[in-house]
Assembly symmetry: C2
């Protein structure tokens, strides 16, 4: 049974996923940097291998195709190794210092493409738009369950970003409690009666030293206190609490922008591993005012070390102002190049 | 100039180390899992290469040897790539949403052994004791500077633990502010007027399901909410706020115990990368009551992924009770074996 255990010393929660004891060879990484699922020959996410995944929850399909068969462009399935499941109610246990919740929640895998080697930046923007539309749909469906309090959409790409599969995929994890790290935006609103992210957008547009790109609907910035080198946020300019508030026009813009940005980042930084996390408001809560969803893209050029483990401080050796300058310039050159093609 | 920047969205601080822009090849890792300093032929930490490090701060030396020359067993030098330095006073800057401190602090490297391939578990216990004695001395010396508020002693071993050098070394980082993650113990004391770590020791000794080993002076446990698979804490049984309160008898015990435990962990988990962090009380503060130093040893079998980045939740697939059982059994067998040698 998965548990959410209270970490009294760090004042946080830890997800203890299972009560088995993995052997060294069963971990996604080992000291030889080899992962078992990184060649394309036997991939459960490829088109034609639908029977190897759990049954499909939803998909963007070609007309006439049927569930769990070929003919799809984006497909979402329950995570076979789910951290949580949605059975029963949230339960709280406490015995002296030892406190936990049961692992109530939901965990699914969004297979972004039928083709093994097709990364985001290699897809056409219509296909990327379909991916974002399916994410919006799943967010809308999941938040209807009032046992769910927070929905995280995320992506691990590459071994150094925690991926255990090479085939391009994202994940949706629905939690029964709101992570503490996602609540500072709410506290800022309580104190100032203004949205922190809207205030950041205004300040960044005034300073213009950490802007990578700007479109009709979005701003890309390297945030002032970037935790990772070359970290960037794609932020919608219109104040929108929840990710599923994204409009069709915004999805069209985001598809073009994220393709261009991820392509730029991958070329500039020599194809790094990276993570994406969509930060959004808590659901089934009266406290979603002041939240404003945004997408955080963090290349993984450094490894988390004991400084961060012991103190919680991240160390970033690249000033965000320099990162924004380099990424912004490469992005503008790429766009100029693209307009001549 | 290094800066400690306020992360408004996560309510934390990020260390922005420098204003340069590292190129992909200059990062400690790259996608090929190759680090430039992992062969022993050209190591700045090896005996005979003393001129390649910054000048020595302190050392355990053989009689007749001189500073910055061969003839040492443990040697500590300023970190050439220091995150902080101790010049001037702590300064605070704020411009609207953008808030930071200057990078006041101290950063040094403790070279644990003159020999390139000698890991902790391969050293004799007298040598390990000398290492702990030098750490105690440096902690005592550093806390005399009242600009310093927290001293972290830590170790990164292996590429997946953030090490950029193979030669066995630890680091000491002295901060001008107390990390938020190190304050929950103080809050527990304020609320209960008891030490959280003493209470944890009592509870673990009563339950006996997460104990790996016990000696006269120390307990090794896999903590209830372990953030990492097979994480273990070495905790002194006597309530001691600061690491420099460790007695000579405790150092002798800790040298034997840490050698045996690290050897067990390395063998059981197939020589993983790992981190050590010594958690201790803030210094130059009236608020050190209730703190109790302990050593956290975290093998790095999984990579930090977007779940943790986005929510702050760690995911641990191995129940600490199973980890303690496996490590404890291997450790008892090792000791039995050792007693027959």
């Amino acid at each position: 049974m998965p548990e959410l255990r209270k970490d009294m010393v760090r004042d946080n929660w830890v997800v203890i996923v299972a009560d088995n004891a993995l052997k060294p060879g069963e971990f996604p990484i080992n000291r030889n940097c080899v992962s078992s699922h990184f060649d394309g020959s036997d991939c459960p996410f490829c088109e034609g291998h639908e029977s190897r995944t759990t049954p499909e929850i939803a998909a963007i399909r070609l007309p006439g195709s049927t569930a769990d068969a070929p003919g799809w462009l984006v497909r979402t399935v329950p995570n076979k190794f789910a951290a949580f499941n949605l059975e029963g109610e949230l339960r709280h246990f406490r015995e002296g210092l030892f406190e936990c919740f049961n692992g109530l929640g939901h965990h699914e895998v969004v297979i972004e493409t039928p083709w093994h080697y097709q990364e985001i930046q290699q897809r056409d923007t219509k296909h990327i738009g379909q991916f974002f539309r399916l994410l919006r749909q799943r967010y809308q469906e999941l938040r209807r369950d009032d046992r769910i309090k927070y929905i995280q959409i995320y992506k691990n790409r590459g071994l150094f970003a925690g991926a255990s599969q090479q085939h391009s995929h994202s994940q949706i994890l629905a939690y029964s409690i709101v992570p503490e790290q996602c609540t500072a935006i709410g506290r800022y609103f309580d104190e100032h009666r203004r949205c922190l992210i809207c205030d950041i957008i205004k300040a960044e547009l005034a300073h213009r030293v950490r802007i990578v790109a700007e479109t009709d609907h979005f701003l890309i910035i390297c945030p002032y206190a970037s935790r990772f080198c070359y970290e960037a946020w794609i932020v919608p300019k219109t104040h929108t609490e929840h990710f599923d508030g994204i409009s069709d026009a915004e999805i069209g813009d985001l598809a073009v922008l994220s393709k261009a940005y991820i392509g730029t980042m991958m070329d500039t930084l020599d194809q790094p591993a990276y993570n994406i996390s969509i930060n959004t408001a808590p659901v089934n809560s009266v406290e979603d005012r002041g939240y404003h969803w945004f997408m955080e893209i963090s290349p993984r050029l450094m490894v988390q070390n004991a400084v961060e483990i012991g103190t919680g401080f991240y160390m970033n050796p690249v000033a965000p102002e320099r990162a924004a300058q380099i990424l912004g310039q490469t992005m503008r050159e790429g766009r100029k190049g693209a307009s001549h093609d």
